[in-house]
């Protein structure tokens, strides 16, 4: 995990290394100041030597200015390094997500991935900054201050060390006890947020069933739970500050008592005593800081784990090295194809022993009920998933031998859940072909029967599509996605229930255009509507993953029960108008 994360530092190595260096320098100067102070008192003020006062005074001044510069520089480098690190982590995640195959995407939820790219990375960024700045600073500060105290008076140093160790043990044992409570609390918070979320999104059912009071009760219970558990954690944590005071105050008392003795018997200078008081604060504060950072880093471990999971997720489907870069024609062959989405032991398949050959340039219709695996079948052609057993061939060659980019350019698929992206219509169209001219775009839209409504829009092809394509109707969206797929000039075009919201007349016009304008393209059409596929060259009927019918409309009307009953149902008037 650590290796994956440190690998993301990349071009920010310089800043990442410079930060602790400047932090260290800053600490050195910070520590020197009280030390110089004692010299100033002992060699300047006590003997009444103004030259020494100036000497050490100026030295101290120089030290604090240098400390300021180092501190500012370390702060700047830390910001650059951590923001850069976060950028690289996000980039690595996003790049790998782009590398995901369909089955990888199936495994994550959209919300989950967004959290992994935003909140989790922000947590990591903060921890990273803490580590290179304060996790270096506190121990260093602690060690140097301790060394100074030893140098000044080893007996007092041992006493301070003793107090510090006791405080350290106390703090870390407290963290050990509080941390699990906090983890539990965060879970409760998640539950609370979930119930708020549900009530915002589900305000209609809440109001229509008059369940406001019921929901309030549930919410109050959850809120109270958080209150209780939070209180439990805080009651432990509340010991921290008085404990810290106990440590500081007992150190002061110890130093005052023993220091007085040492000064009186002449083994210590007054100046030393003064600087000792300063180092007490220094020692204990750095311990405190360290424990705080420790907690934060421990808490961000969960985020780190989630982020690394995404970065290291191996794509289930890779483009072969030296894959074939040309697709000969649009012939599609399924050769004893078995398919399943995930490994299943019980030998259950979504598709079972599918065999067929579709010659290049023909039109094939696919009919079947929900769950008959129509979409699964066609998604094997552009290799969105890999077959479990058997072979799918396009242009006579196994799809797994093609370069993925080449294959998917040749096989254009309009998905059932089609999406337009925020941007103008033209920009959306150029997804199909980045170099398409305006004329080509208009031609594709004419083919898909989209030109008519697009040109009626006030801004025409420059109309801005909102995120998710919410400002065009379902039927319009479908026609635009078909046009976008056409711009690829594919050898095989697959429409997965892509005209369901288009009226029958327009649907017919689209099919007419396909037949006359792109006769050499192999066309595969999935539809719930028999009228959309009945004039295809070949119609395939699927039932629960089995190929149960194959032939023309007339043949199937005679031989296939499912086809005939569906046809009759739709003729009678149960027309599917969805």
């Amino acid at each position: 995990m650590l290796k994956t994360l440190t690998a993301q530092i990349k071009q920010y190595k310089r800043q990442t290394i410079l930060t602790p260096i400047f932090v260290a320098l800053e600490v050195v100067f910070d520590i020197l100041i009280p030390f110089l102070m004692s010299y100033l008192v002992d060699y300047g003020i006590t003997p009444g030597n103004m030259a020494n006062v100036w000497k050490y005074g100026l030295l101290m001044l120089a030290c604090s200015i240098l400390a300021l510069i180092c501190g500012a520089l370390s702060g700047k480098y830390a910001a650059e390094a951590s923001a850069g690190f976060a950028k690289n982590v996000r980039d690595a995640e996003f790049r790998n997500i782009q590398n995901f195959s369909f089955s990888n995407i199936d495994e994550y939820s959209t919300g989950g991935l967004i959290t992994r790219l935003t909140t989790d990375v922000t947590n990591l960024q903060n921890s990273f900054q803490m580590i290179i700045r304060i996790a270096v600073r506190s121990p260093l500060n602690f060690i140097m201050a301790l060394a100074m105290v030893f140098y000044l008076n080893s007996k007092i140093a041992l006493m301070l060390l003793g107090v510090t160790v006791v405080l350290g043990i106390f703090i870390f044992s407290m963290i050990g006890r509080v941390n699990p409570i906090f983890v539990k609390m965060f879970k409760k918070y998640d539950a609370l947020n979930e119930s708020i979320q549900e009530n915002i999104a589900g305000i209609r059912p809440v109001k229509s069933f008059v369940r406001e009071d019921y929901e309030k009760e549930r919410f109050d219970k959850r809120s109270q739970e958080i209150f209780d558990i939070n209180r439990k954690a805080e009651l432990l944590l509340v010991l921290q500050q008085p404990m810290m005071q106990v440590a500081i105050y007992s150190c002061i008392l110890l130093v005052a008592w023993f220091g007085a003795h040492f000064v009186v018997d002449g083994s210590m200078q007054i100046g030393t005593l003064i600087s000792l008081f300063t180092y007490i604060m220094n020692l204990l504060m750095s311990l405190m800081m360290f424990s705080m950072i420790f907690v934060m880093v421990v808490m961000s471990l969960a985020s780190a784990k989630r982020v690394v999971e995404v970065i290291n997720q191996v794509s289930y489907l890779e483009s072969p090295k030296d894959g074939i870069k040309e697709v000969k024609d649009g012939e599609v062959v399924f050769d004893h194809v078995y398919f399943n989405y995930a490994e299943q032991v019980d030998g259950h398949y979504v598709l079972r022993d599918i065999n067929f050959t579709l010659p290049s340039g023909k039109t094939m219709g696919i009919l079947g009920g929900t769950g008959s695996s129509k979409s699964s079948l066609v998604s094997l052609i552009p290799r969105l998933y890999d077959v479990t057993k058997g072979e799918v061939r396009v242009g006579g060659i196994d799809v797994r031998k093609y370069d993925l980019h080449t294959l998917r350019d040749a096989v254009s698929m309009v998905l059932q859940k089609n999406v337009l992206f925020s941007g103008t219509i033209k920009e959306n169209m150029r997804w199909g072909d980045p170099n398409a001219t305006d004329a080509e775009i208009i031609e594709a839209c004419q083919l898909a029967q989209a030109d008519e409504f697009v040109s009626k829009m006030p801004k025409g092809y420059d109309t801005y599509i909102e995120q998710g394509g919410t400002n065009v109707s379902g039927g319009q969206r479908q026609r635009l996605t078909i046009a976008r797929a056409l711009l690829k000039k594919p050898k095989i075009l697959i429409l997965d229930d892509s005209t369901s919201a288009v009226d029958t007349k327009t649907d017919y016009l689209i099919r007419q255009a396909f037949a006359t304008k792109i006769p050499d393209t192999t066309k595969i059409i999935i539809s719930q509507r028999i009228s959309s596929i009945q004039d295809a060259d070949i119609i395939m009927v699927l039932d629960k993953g089995h190929l149960v019918g194959w032939g023309t409309h007339d043949e199937l009307m005679n031989s296939n029960e499912i086809y005939r009953t569906t046809y009759q149902a739709q003729q009678k008037g149960g027309s599917e108008d969805e």
Partner: protein
């Protein structure tokens, strides 16, 4: 800015109002612990001047007075520690209690808000009031306020002590501190600005990622990965830049404060030394030592205050958003008519204590008499005009009459106003003109809760709640037994898939039933409405996500559910509404055709075209 100040003052008032006694005690204790701290700082002067120096001149030093001095200090320290502990403990009650109060008040108030609020505010923004904004308040109450208070106390005490030691060095220290505060302010102002811009950029990344992950499959199909990455890198770089700037300023704050503090320390030391050597102002070594400790104790609270500035500003903004939600006007309800259990006695409807299966509207008249109107489910729209905004009318002069037990269907394109009509019947929105009556009573006269209880509703997007399957069905009628819930599930044909779930009816649904398919969620919603057993049903695309075959199964259950009830149906699939008593074809907020299926087919109008697929419905 003004809002922020108001927000802050309201939070303080709220805390004061609820925890007057505790606040006073906490304040006194903070004062006390700060005093103990300051006393400790001045002790150094006493130590050197009153104890050590005299002893150095004695041949046989007497440590007796020192013991007494240290004992006194120890006692004061113990008291200081005790008060720190106690005020911290009390503060837990105040801060967590206030947070809990605010959360519960927010939620209770949110539940009372009209639908309009939820339709016009982004859900993410409402959510953020609970998470981010209340979080800033917790920071404010439990950290910033006590720190600022104790810092101010320390500052006041330290300043007093310093002036007692000698005003000359005191002025040097104060000048240094003021300079520090000034620099810190200008730094926090900038970092605050950049943090806001970082937040905005983070939002942009969020939006982009959401769009591209939603559309990930399309990206794959078009081999558009490279372009997508390039787009991402651009906004990712922007975010990195803003984040670097924000963090740079935030990081610089600490070293700047600390070292400006050192600078003032050095200057104080040098000046002090100079005065002492030259015997000016009667300055002693002890005075310098004490002054230097005071200098540190003075700079620390100043640095602490400057660090809290951003937190306070953010809390102000958070508080203003919290109160903005709390100040949203609740749904008003002037209804007087209630729904009561009823029985027939001597041909007269009278109220009944027991469940009779019959319901009446209890209608108190202005003259003091009460009329009992049997609940039948008779709904009339009389010239109803409505718009979500006053300037944009969505429904124009709608007239319709649904007799008890009739099935009324609405068809039409998206945005034609189908769902709006159902929003009006249960008074999610109030009409602008005209009248809607329910069993002859203007719905404005009926208490909203009773009106809504009499209407069952199944919506297109099914919202379930985290809890078991059984809990979700029981949502329709809280007092329903398990048997009633299972019977309702059977009616909706949901029983089959529920039994296939891991724990059957006791399966816990996370995050609104994420693990269920949309179709399964709809079946549960139908079961939920079935268990409520209302006289009027509204089905808004209730079967849109159920495949044709399953729908046939559901249809059968739905038919049973609809029997004897007034039903309003909105459906995409015409097959589900063909047997309606009346079908209304809506277009741009007007009813353009009405009649039953056969009449409309004969008419060969819009419905006919929709039916034959010549017109698209979306």
């Amino acid at each position: 800015m003004n809002n922020r100040k108001q927000g802050l003052s309201r939070i303080f008032k709220l805390v004061w109002h609820n925890y007057k006694k505790l606040v006073v005690i906490v304040f006194v204790l903070i004062l006390f612990s700060a005093l103990a701290n300051v006393y400790g700082s001045t002790f150094q002067k006493t130590l050197i001047d009153s104890y050590i120096t005299p002893m150095m001149n004695q041949s046989n030093p007497n440590f007796q007075p020192l013991i007494a001095g240290i004992a006194k200090l120890a006692l004061i320290y113990v008291l200081g520690i005790l008060s720190t502990y106690i005020w911290n403990r009390l503060m837990i009650t105040i801060s967590l209690g206030t947070l809990n109060d605010i959360r519960e008040d927010l939620f209770a108030h949110m539940e009372s808000l009209p639908l309009r609020y939820f339709d016009t505010h982004a859900h993410g923004d409402i959510m953020s009031v609970y998470t981010n904004d209340t979080d800033t308040l917790r920071q404010l109450i439990s950290q910033s306020v006590p720190q600022v208070v104790s810092s101010i106390v320390s500052i006041v005490m330290v300043v007093a002590s310093m002036f007692m030691l000698g005003w000359q060095l005191a002025l040097v220290t104060i000048a240094g501190a003021l300079f520090m505060l000034f620099v810190a302010r200008s730094i926090t102002k900038r970092s605050g600005k950049y943090f806001r811009s970082q937040q905005k950029k983070l939002g942009a990344v969020n939006g982009y990622v959401e769009e591209m992950i939603e559309g990930a499959r399309v990206v794959k199909v078009f081999s558009h990965e490279q372009q997508t990455i390039e787009g991402f890198e651009k906004i990712n770089d922007d975010l990195c830049l803003a984040s670097t700037k924000a963090n740079t300023f935030a990081n610089i704050l600490m070293p700047v404060c600390m070292n400006l503090g050192y600078l003032s320390y050095v200057i104080t030391a040098t000046c002090g030394a100079f005065f002492a050597i030259h015997g000016m102002f009667g300055m002693s070594l002890g005075t310098i030592a004490a002054m230097l400790t005071l200098n540190r104790s003075f700079n620390q609270p100043i640095a602490q205050i400057s660090q809290q500035i951003n937190a306070v500003v953010m809390a102000g903004a958070g508080a203003s958003r919290v109160f903005a939600l709390m100040d949203e006007p609740s749904e008003t309800d002037n209804g007087v008519v209630t729904m009561v259990r009823a029985k027939l006695e001597d041909g007269q409807w009278v109220e009944s204590k027991e469940y009779t299966g019959k319901w009446c509207w209890r209608h108190p008249r202005p003259d003091g008499t009460t009329v009992m109107v049997p609940l039948e489910g008779d709904v009339v729209f009389d010239d109803v005009t409505f718009g979500y905004n006053p300037d944009k009318t969505v429904l124009h002069d709608i007239n319709l009459y649904a007799k008890a037990g009739q099935k009324i269907a609405f068809v039409g394109a998206t945005g034609a106003g189908k769902t709006t009509i159902t929003n009006l019947i249960n008074r999610f929105y109030d009409i602008n003109k005209g009248q809607i009556t329910y069993d002859g009573i203007d719905i404005n006269l009926i208490k909203k809760n009773d009106l809504r209880k009499s209407l069952g509703i199944v919506l297109q997007d099914t919202q379930l709640f985290s809890g078991t399957v059984m809990d979700n069905i029981r949502f329709g009628k809280l007092e329903a037994t398990d048997e009633e819930c299972i019977a309702a599930a059977k009616l909706a044909n949901a029983d089959g898939f529920i039994n296939h779930l891991e724990n059957g009816y006791n399966t816990y649904l996370q995050a609104g039933g994420e693990s269920l398919s949309q179709g399964q969620r709809q079946l549960l919603a139908i079961a939920r409405a079935a268990v409520a057993n209302p006289p009027v049903l509204i089905l808004d695309e209730a079967t849109s996500s159920i495949d044709t075959r399953t729908e046939r199964l559901v249809q059968d259950g739905m038919d049973k559910l609809m029997e004897g009830r007034t039903v309003f149906v909105i459906a995409h699939r015409l097959s589900t509404i063909m047997n309606s008593d009346a079908i209304m074809v809506l277009d741009h907020g007007r009813i353009i055709e009405r009649g039953n299926h056969d009449e409309l087919i004969k008419k060969k109008g819009v419905y006919y075209q929709l039916y034959t697929g010549a017109l698209e419905m979306d």
